[in-house]
């Protein structure tokens, strides 16, 4: 689904990604783990075209195109979705209005009929209910005054409505209580259809017990240093990163 080859990238003058190679297989759940500051979030930012990150070398191949030179909104329209680690608040912009505009933009891009307001509200209410969200968040400002857990549920809600093909989840599980973690994981599982590809960044095994990853990659100092299966997580949990880095 996505091939990242020899990707180098800087934030400001500092080189963060130092030759990332990563193959994300269609329909699979990949997990990316690594110490704080190793460059995991920078990798997701490079994939979605965040202005903070400048790619200096390498390619990100996706659906036969190199994403590196593509504007951020076009990458999103092509089905790349990032659940942000800290979703930003946009007061005044109604949550439902925003999400319908996003969905309509995508439908327009694909030449599909645009979902009208009534259909959309029905859709949004149904999804919000599944995620155990308070119905009033539909009409509140985008992430405005949302708790950490509400913001993460809202990211999952957006994912479920926009139906992306390549899903990047940056610490979707951080700061969640047990109920929220369960709701978020169920949302992710609902999206698994053997076609969609996931890249899940996490520090904890907890979420992986719900979403059952296919592959685990270890990230260290701007590179993928080890690839393996779910068993790698157990090694990490018992021995820490040092054991793998030494290998």
């Amino acid at each position: 689904m996505m091939q990242i080859k020899n990707l180098h990238a800087k934030i400001g003058e500092k080189e963060i990604l130092k030759g990332v190679n990563l193959a994300l297989e269609k329909g699979k759940v990949h997990v990316l783990m690594g110490t704080n500051g190793s460059g995991k979030s920078t990798l997701t930012k490079a994939i979605v075209g965040h202005y903070d990150v400048s790619v200096t070398a390498g390619t990100i191949e996706y659906k036969g195109k190199n994403l590196v030179d593509m504007p951020a909104e076009e990458r999103a329209l092509e089905g790349v979705f990032l659940s942000f680690q800290n979703p930003i608040e946009i007061p005044g912009v109604n949550n439902a209005y925003f999400l319908r505009a996003a969905l309509n933009a995508k439908e327009k891009y694909r030449g599909e009929k645009e979902t009208n307001a009534a259909e959309f509200l029905k859709l949004m209410r149904a999804h919000a209910q599944k995620l155990g969200m308070n119905p009033d968040m539909i009409s509140r400002g985008l992430n405005d005054g949302f708790s950490g857990g509400e913001k993460k549920r809202n990211e999952i809600l957006q994912m479920e409505i926009l139906q992306p093909d390549m899903i990047l989840l940056d610490e979707i599980d951080s700061g969640l209580d047990i109920d929220a973690l369960k709701a978020v994981s169920q949302g992710i599982n609902r999206m698994k259809d053997g076609e969609r590809t996931f890249l899940v960044i996490t520090h904890y095994k907890r979420i992986l017990d719900y979403i059952h990853p296919d592959y685990v990659h270890i990230f260290q100092d701007g590179q993928v240093i080890k690839n393996g299966g779910p068993e790698l997580v157990d090694v990490l949990e018992s021995e820490g990163y040092q054991a793998i880095v030494k290998d």
Partner: protein
Amino acid sequence: MAEEAVEKILAQEYQLGFTTDVHEDRVEPGLSVAVLEFISAKKNEPQWMLDLRIKALQKWEKMQEPHWSQLEYEPIDYQSISYFAAPKKAPNSLDEVDENILEAYEKLGIPLDEQKMLQGIAVDAVFDSVSVKTTYTEALKEKGIIFCSISEAIVEYPELVQEYMYSVVPMSDNYFAALNAAVFTDGTFVYIPKGVRCPMELSTYFRINAQNTGQFERTLIIADEGSYVSYNEGCSAPQRDENQLHAAVVELIAKKDAEIKYSTIQNWYPGDENGKGGIYNFVTKRGICEGENAKISWTQVETGSSITWKYPSCILKGDNSVGEFYSVAITSKGQQADTGTKMIHLGKNTRSTIVSKGISAMQGQNSYRGLVKVAPKASGARNFSQCDSLLIGSTCGAHTFPYLESQNATAQIEHEATTSKISDEQLMYLRQRCIGEEDGVSMIVHGFCKEVFAQLPMEFAVEAKELLNLTLEGSVG
């Protein structure tokens, strides 16, 4: 990133900057009794009106131009302005209106042809110094409603005009009001009789076309006991290199249990990116809630003009009367706006609400200036003010000057103010959700203004949104 998006959007040309070629009657530049006599004669005014004009001129000549605001501009040479310009042929019916003028209004999206008109909106169109066409007059007359140009009202309804004109904004109220009192050329007159609810939106469209002219319109709206009217005004002007002066006066009178809703969409030519040209919009607007339970509501969307200086105000004289002010003011390029309101609480249990939204981009400077005054007898008076500023980029400015004066211990005054900025991080979030930069800016700006837009009549709300799109975002329509 946010700045780039805005700059791209702002590179758009002013869309209403065309000029219309009509044969015009105009008076030589300059201000004198002779000029007033000329205007008065052109309009077939009675002697009392000319006498009032001359009195106003004498007062104006003794006054000083005010310079207390934050505004910066070159001195205005009042002797170089032509105070009257009118299409040569005075039309008696739509058939006689100059085709070029009809076409100009078509371009503005205001067809004057009644067949094509939007159902339910009566229009008075003022072109330079004269009203060229008022529609639906007959239909309104059946209910006893008077909707005509002020020139016509002076001749046809002198008692009403003499009783109310200058009663809310006295001719010596301020420098620009005095100038207007002397030279005003046209404007709209509305009278709603007792207990009548005006069945349609009334609106006036002002257009400055001629070069080196000022537009000095005067609007007078009287809502008699228990009546209701919703009135809208729109404005635009051609693109010219020199500055043009617009000094209007609006007076509103709401009697017991009456309500006046006054909405403005101001889109005068704002000048170019170097701050050259554009309209000086120096306007005095004031309403009085004369009787109990009267209500006056001002809603304004200010997108144009090089300089805007206006403070639509309410005098809350009747007990339990209500004043409201909802404003969106946007300044970009070299535009300056100093706008706000005055709420003067005189009666018991009077209430006022102020919601002001200022948006600044590029080098735009936006000031909110508001006075809430509670007189000794206004027990139980309440005010709530909310002033929010939105900054786009780092070269613009927003300023808030609230003045609160309370002389009654039972009064409650609340003031809230916020300043926010459209951040690159917000636009990035929206882009990651398929929404491009221009649409993202638009979405955030509309979200910021929605409390004010909600106050506008539907057709005007649509126009206001489109105008914001033109001023700040990509092209629409």
